[in-house]
């Protein structure tokens, strides 16, 4: 039973991402020192700092499965942040109402992208890239310079733990995953894969690809809204020009986790992919502080850290090409074998038709 489940997991698209994640986890624990890594404080910081990014990646994975994408995810997160802060500051609305407003705005931004990609059928990459600049402009129009604040109660709560060890920030991620789990198990959960993999066949099966993508974009908007709330609580103020790189980074995290373009992969890919991303950056930070301790007089700027972690992530991306190629090869060989086997069946009647000349 357990062996069976493991076997299924081994063949699932998320497996490569899981291995990458595991490697990054071990690397991080070793470099940081297990004693300091496995503390409530360190885990809490990890979740609190990265919850927005992980949620954005989950949202992006939803679109990738549906055969589309949205590079403007990142600035949409900033948009939510800006709306929440300014609604509180200028309209004097309570924080919770501002958050709901933020989610609504994120859904609207998502719908704009849906209209470009699914209705007008513009290439998703280009359309959402162009949208990045439009939304960025709107952000700055709403809030020209970083400003504003959030009540202490809220951002303190975000940074705290329930029962002394469960980070509240992690609960946001869990919440998003529960929504996803529900969605995965209703009809939409299968239709999204069909539409992503082959819109024409999905249409022939009585599914409307445009409607399915609409639902995917709305859901993605809600997720982005949640990510926006997280980032607001994290920085406890507003900044119109933050998180822009989340868009492209979430895309690479999805690919790292094993998602393909259109109908291949699942949400675990997004979780492992973003986990790998986060842990590698963390590891590299500790690696450099280790160097500083070991080598007297060693000092570099933080650009070097980014450089090293980006190179590792790039290598990870290259890895996915290799593993994907291996999978394809294995698949093709499997089919050839089946084909050859069935070919024998096939030849018998043909030979018989020819009058069975000397076959018996």
């Amino acid at each position: 039973m357990i062996k069976n489940a493991f076997d299924r997991f081994r063949r699932s698209p998320a497996f490569a991402g899981f291995i990458l994640f595991l490697v990054a986890l071990v690397l991080n624990a070793v470099l940081q020192g297990p004693a300091s890594f496995f503390t409530v404080k360190s885990i809490n910081t990890l979740f609190a700092k990265n919850a927005p990014f992980i949620i954005v990646t989950v949202a992006q994975s939803l679109l990738l499965i549906a055969g589309t994408m949205d590079i403007s995810c990142g600035v949409q997160v900033a948009l939510v942040n800006v709306v929440i802060i300014m609604a509180g500051q200028t309209l004097g609305l309570p924080f919770i109402v501002c958050c709901i407003l933020g989610v609504g705005v994120a859904v609207l931004a998502s719908l704009a992208c849906w209209i470009c990609c699914s209705v007008f059928r513009l290439p998703a990459l280009l359309a959402s890239y162009a949208l990045t600049y439009i939304i960025k402009g709107i952000n700055v129009m709403i809030m020209d310079v970083p400003q504003g604040k959030v009540d202490k109660v809220f951002y303190k709560a975000y940074d705290s733990q329930i029962l002394g060890f469960i980070p509240v920030s992690a609960l946001f991620i869990v919440g998003v995953l529960i929504i996803w789990l529900y969605v995965r198990h209703n009809r939409f959960g299968t239709h999204i894969y069909a539409v992503g993999a082959n819109p024409r066949n999905a249409f022939a099966a009585g599914i409307s690809p445009m409607k399915v993508q609409l639902k995917a974009f709305v859901l993605k908007g809600i997720f982005i809204g949640v990510a926006g709330i997280c980032i607001t609580l994290m920085i406890a103020s507003g900044n119109p020009l933050q998180a822009e790189d989340y868009g492209i980074r979430s895309l690479s995290a999805c690919i790292l986790g094993g998602l393909g373009f259109g109908g291949w992969g699942n949400v675990a890919c997004a979780v492992f992919g973003s986990g790998f991303y986060v842990l590698i950056q963390n590891s590299v930070y500790y690696f450099f502080s280790l160097l500083v301790k070991l080598i007297p007089g060693f000092a570099v700027t933080s650009y070097w850290q980014n450089f090293v972690s980006d190179i590792i992530i790039f290598l990870g991306l290259l890895m996915t090409i290799v593993t994907a190629k291996g999978q394809r090869q294995a698949l093709k060989e499997g089919i050839v074998r089946q084909f050859r086997r069935s070919d024998r069946h096939y030849d018998e009647p043909t030979a018989a038709k020819k009058g069975g000349d000397g076959n018996e």
């Binding site: 299924r8 209703n186 009809r187 894969y193 069909a194 993999a197 009585g206 084909f339 069935s342 038709k353």
Partner: protein
């Protein structure tokens, strides 16, 4: 009762259906027959909601209905098993069968238990041996086809459309399919069955409708037709009495060495064992139903697709080109019917399009003067009477026929030894088609060898010296001289020749 009346469908200049009609009663299995391009598949697609007809009406139980999408079609109780399959390869068998029809509980969650029971019963009914969790892309083509049919049947339709589903099936699977069809017939399901295998038609169908060039030619009870009648209605000519086996005409240049000599070529998965010879100055036609390995064969010659077994001897040496660029250097030319995908640069100018081939052959940094380019392009345009506005206009400004002439001109200007054409006149009007034929004949007379694959019988018969007919990845017949008749061709296309090997050996001996 289901009825289609006076259906018309045009794709730009091409008329796919021209006042076709069809009707089928509950508990009836109707064969829909016709040669390539007669509009059978389009009729099926009209009922399936994938093609919206320009004119005509669809009646169910005497009531006119509108079918605009797959959803409409399903709602009216119509299920379709498509020739090119509607399965999603990256999804599991379970998800594919239930797609669009998942049983749900009251919270909107898909009820796995109910789905599993349904699938187990269905797989057992069709004797399909596979894991419901397996991805469809890991299954053999024949299993995939059985799943396609099973999926359609699982919808419990009132009208079941089967579009050439047996083409990929094995004999035992066909038996299973037929027994299921007979069961459904007892249950009162109406069925429309499209196939090219005549023996199956007589085995399982009650009635038939025969189509030719988008029109319904005749219909009636199966028992009122003989095989000869069917071929007559499909081609418009009576087949001569004979055993139907393709004999072989000996080509006049037996003693000459062939320019191209292909032996026992196999290309996974479509081509199994192909041998073919072409001599200098000859036009070789390649016929067959769609997807019998014609495109793969041509692409393998060109080096665009690798082949697994067999040898290709070209121009006196054994070759296996690794890329089309090498093949072009070796004196081959290639014209594809997929103009937009494989041959044209639609946004570039007409002049550049004509020059593209010449440029590919010359040195990378060879200097080309605008004047000589202009003259070259002008010559080509005049010689092949391509109707253009100006040389500087984009190639997309031309009509389909002129675009294709442009591509032909590009290659012929390079004087290849061997010119390969893959369905070059697809979607080309009759006039341009004749002109292209004239150009090809002229080139052959000047010593060029031409291999042309076409899905249209008339085209093959009118232009080629010899026709190789492909059937399931083998040569089913080689037709030349007085054997080159429409009836022989249609018969060979459906594999109705006993000696696929003998004809080929005859040529080679």
């Amino acid at each position: 009762m289901f009825e289609l009346r006076a259906i018309e469908k045009r794709f730009d200049a091409v008329v796919a259906l021209n006042g076709a009609h069809l009707h089928v009663e509950p508990g009836e299995i109707r064969a829909l027959l016709g040669s390539n391009g007669s509009g059978k598949s389009t009729m099926i697609k009209v009922l399936a909601g994938l093609v919206n007809p320009n004119k005509g009406e669809i009646l169910i139980d005497g009531e006119p209905v509108e079918i605009h999408s797959g959803q409409d079609s399903r709602r009216l109780g119509i299920a379709t098993a498509f020739q090119d399959l509607s399965l999603v390869p990256t999804m599991s068998v379970r998800d594919n069968i239930l797609l669009g029809n998942e049983p749900c509980n009251k919270f909107g969650i898909v009820d796995r238990k109910a789905g599993d029971d349904l699938i187990d019963a269905l797989l057992a009914r069709f004797h399909i041996d596979c894991d419901p969790n397996a991805y469809v892309q890991t299954l053999t083509p024949s299993t995939q086809t059985m799943l396609e049919v099973a999926k359609a049947v699982s919808l419990k339709p009132r009208l079941l459309l089967l579009d050439e589903v047996t083409a990929a099936l094995h004999y035992d699977e066909i038996e299973v399919l037929f027994s299921v069809m007979r069961e459904l017939k007892e249950e009162g399901v109406a069925m429309i069955y499209v196939t090219h295998r005549m023996n199956e038609v007589f085995q399982v169908c009650d009635t038939t409708t025969i189509m030719r060039s988008g029109e319904t030619v005749t219909e009636g009870k199966m028992s009122d037709f003989t095989l000869d009648d069917i071929v007559y209605y499909m081609t418009g000519q009576r087949p001569e009495k004979g055993d139907g086996t393709a004999a072989h005409g000996h080509f006049h240049a037996e003693d000459k060495t062939p320019l191209l000599d292909v032996k026992n070529l196999s290309i996974f998965p479509r081509v199994r064992d192909l041998s073919l010879r072409a001599y200098q100055g000859e036009i070789i036609g390649i016929g067959g139903l769609q997807g019998q390995g014609q495109s793969e064969f041509i692409r393998a010659l060109l080096g665009a697709e690798p082949f697994q077994e067999g040898t290709i001897e070209y121009d006196g040496r054994s070759v296996a080109f690794k890329s089309p660029a090498q093949a072009v250097k070796g004196g081959m030319g290639f014209i594809s019917g997929e103009r937009n995908r494989e041959a044209m640069f639609p946004l570039r100018t007409i002049e550049e399009n004509i020059l593209a081939g010449k440029v590919a052959k010359g040195n990378l940094f060879a200097y080309m003067t605008p004047k000589s380019n202009h003259a070259f392009a002008n010559d080509a345009v005049e010689k092949y009477s391509i109707k253009i506005g100006e040389l500087g206009h984009p190639a997309s400004s031309l009509s389909g026929g002129n675009q294709q002439k442009l591509v032909v001109a590009r290659w012929i200007a390079m004087q290849p030894k061997l010119l390969l054409l893959d369905d070059p006149t697809k979607g080309v009007d009759i006039h341009s088609r004749q002109e292209i034929h004239k150009i090809l004949r002229q080139c052959a007379d000047e010593g060029m060898t031409v291999i042309i694959s076409s899905s249209e019988s008339e085209e093959l018969l009118s232009i080629s010296d010899r026709i190789y007919v492909f059937y399931e990845g083998c040569v089913s017949a080689m037709l030349s001289g007085d054997k080159k008749t429409p009836e022989m061709l249609v018969a060979a296309m459906m594999g109705m020749t006993g000696g696929s090997q003998t004809s080929e050996e005859g040529v080679q001996s």
